[in-house]
């Protein structure tokens, strides 16, 4: 039941995309997002789409997942396109009814926005499909490390993220246990009305909070016992390495970026 929830969306694999250095992947994803925002016409967006399709094909992530990742943004896409469709008032009028009207430019902008949002989500979900959450936190810590000079506690933030990720499955299991225990005492969780279900949450959340605090305290003690003292002078077991693959990926992404800029200039 609760165990069926997938943590993040990481799909383990050995594709060239999986093997990239997570830092490089993160930077290139940002580059891709910038690239999409630089694109000024449909042709340029088309290049962005091509980039997405090639990258997805290389990663071996099934296309069905690509579609699945779009589900949550359907309402956003709808709202943006409707707004653009009706509120852009320049261009030839295609259709008119009382105050509402659709123009050619409105139609084009709406399509353009949809394409941009969809590509944005597909591109960034590729990152989470091919990078484990732990790798991702490592990459963020590493990339943000210059901020240490500004006294930003980068290591501590990354450690907090790692711990949070690590404890999600544990807490899910714990919730499952507590739910069963309260069900055994007759609380209405799987039976009864909606109001009963909400009332049934209190006996679950209180024990869950109590045990989370207990776990946190135990973990803190355990870390201190092993002399954890923050990021200062700490080495890592898993070192991040950039290889020739990362160089190829960087060149490949930048070529597409160049393509988009060229199309921006050529087609007005």
């Amino acid at each position: 039941m609760l165990k069926d929830i997938t943590l993040g969306q990481y799909l383990p694999g050995t594709s060239p995309v999986h093997k990239l250095d997570p830092r490089v992947k993160l930077v290139l994803t940002v580059e891709f997002i910038v690239m999409l925002f630089c694109a000024k016409n449909m042709w340029a967006i088309g290049v962005g789409a091509l980039f997405c399709i090639i990258s997805f094909a290389l990663s071996g992530v099934p296309a069905s997942l690509m579609v699945k990742s779009l589900k949550p943004i359907v309402p956003l896409v709808l709202i943006t396109s409707v707004l653009n469709l009706f509120f852009v008032r320049t261009g030839d009028v295609l259709w008119k009814w009382k105050v509402l009207q659709i123009t050619t430019e409105g139609r084009d902008t709406a399509l353009f926005m949809i394409a941009r949002i969809v590509l944005l989500i597909i591109g960034s979900s590729l990152l989470t499909y091919t990078t484990s959450p732990i790798d991702l936190t490592d990459a963020i810590e590493n990339l943000l490390s210059p901020l240490k000079k500004l006294k930003v506690p980068v290591h501590e933030l990354a450690m907090m993220m790692t711990i949070a990720l690590r404890f999600i499955p544990t807490l899910i299991e714990e919730t499952d246990k507590i739910m069963n225990a309260q069900k055994a005492r007759g609380s209405e969780l799987d039976t009864g009305s909606f109001a009963d279900k909400v009332r049934g949450m209190v006996p679950i959340f209180i024990p869950l909070f109590v045990s989370s605090f207990r776990r946190a305290e135990e973990l803190a003690t355990a870390m201190e016992c092993r002399c954890y003292h923050g990021g200062e002078g700490r080495t890592r077991m898993k070192q991040l390495h950039t290889t020739y693959r990362d160089l190829i990926a960087a060149i490949y992404t930048t070529l597409f970026f160049g393509g988009i800029i060229a199309l921006n200039v050529l087609i007005k």
Partner: protein
């Protein structure tokens, strides 16, 4: 009359996934009203999975579970009723406490049953007395109690529902010897006073041997044996082979048997062992 009965009960975890695992394999048992049952098995033998079928927390993949002769999975409304008939105390039940006071927490189950105030009060007091909680402790927050007290308060919470069958999963795990004895004494008292069915899950034969009418031994999802203690311990060597420890005194007697002193193969309490040894010694002397 049987209170809980299973017929060809099979349960599979993660059907149609790579993690598929048969947790229960064709389990057919019958537990009678008023019996004290010890359920024992290695970690992963399916004992926890089995008891979660008794009150409908898990639904069998195939086979039937009958409580009071009724197949409660057939009717969704019956599901809740069954949870009041079969009280289940999980492992580390103290983690389920949530109310402001111990009293309110014990009353949670009876309240869910829709009983009236007076009846709830009577049941809370009776359960508290059974587990040995004082009036002052009832008014405290459950989080102020000691580990053993919390455990007993949580058990009282299920006892107060006055289930026809009370099932406890490892009720003494993580407690010191004194706390363990206290829990088992309490269960014995509950059983003699109420004459209700009690099922205790454990992986320690030592604890179970002392009080169970019958012992159900599970191994790899199957019933290894389900019989009275002398008969179960008559197979002590097989039991050791499946990775369960038999009581210390049984091991001593087995060793003595190997050395040529025939003391019988059904010894599992110190008292009986003493009698057998004295008998043997007298014979030798005569």
């Amino acid at each position: 009359m049987s209170i809980i009965k299973t017929e060809g009960l099979t349960y599979v975890y993660g059907e149609k996934t790579p993690f598929r695992k048969v947790a229960l394999d064709n389990v057919s048992i019958e537990i009678n009203e008023g019996e004290m049952i010890g359920l024992i098995g290695h970690t992963g033998s399916g004992k926890s999975t089995l008891i979660q079928h008794f009150n409908g927390l898990l639904k069998p993949t195939s086979g039937k579970v009958l409580v009071d002769g009724e197949d409660f999975f057939a009717d969704k409304k019956k599901l809740r009723e069954v949870r009041f008939k079969v009280g289940l105390v999980f492992q580390y039940p103290e983690y389920q406490l949530f109310e402001e006071t111990v009293e309110k927490d014990i009353a949670y189950g009876p309240k869910n049953m829709g009983l009236d105030e007076d009846e709830i009060k009577r049941r809370v007091n009776e359960a508290a007395e059974l587990v040995g909680l004082t009036k002052e402790q009832l008014l405290k927050s459950p989080f102020e109690l000691s580990g053993g007290q919390k455990r007993r308060a949580a058990i009282a919470g299920v006892m107060a529902m006055e289930p026809k069958a009370l099932i406890l999963d490892e009720p003494a795990s993580g407690l010191d010897p004194q706390g363990r004895d206290r829990i088992f004494d309490m269960l014995k008292k509950y059983h003699t006073e109420k004459r209700n069915t009690v099922i205790v899950v454990s992986h320690s034969m030592e604890d179970i041997a002392k009080f169970a009418d019958r012992i159900l031994v599970m191994n790899e999802g199957k019933v290894f044996c389900f019989d009275e203690p002398p008969k179960v311990f008559g197979r002590s060597r097989e039991i050791e082979q499946i990775g369960l420890a038999v009581p210390q005194v049984t091991r001593v007697i087995n060793k003595l048997c190997e050395m040529g002193y025939d003391l019988g193969d059904d010894v599992y309490t110190v008292g009986y062992a003493e009698k057998q040894i004295l008998k043997k010694l007298n014979k030798v002397q005569i």
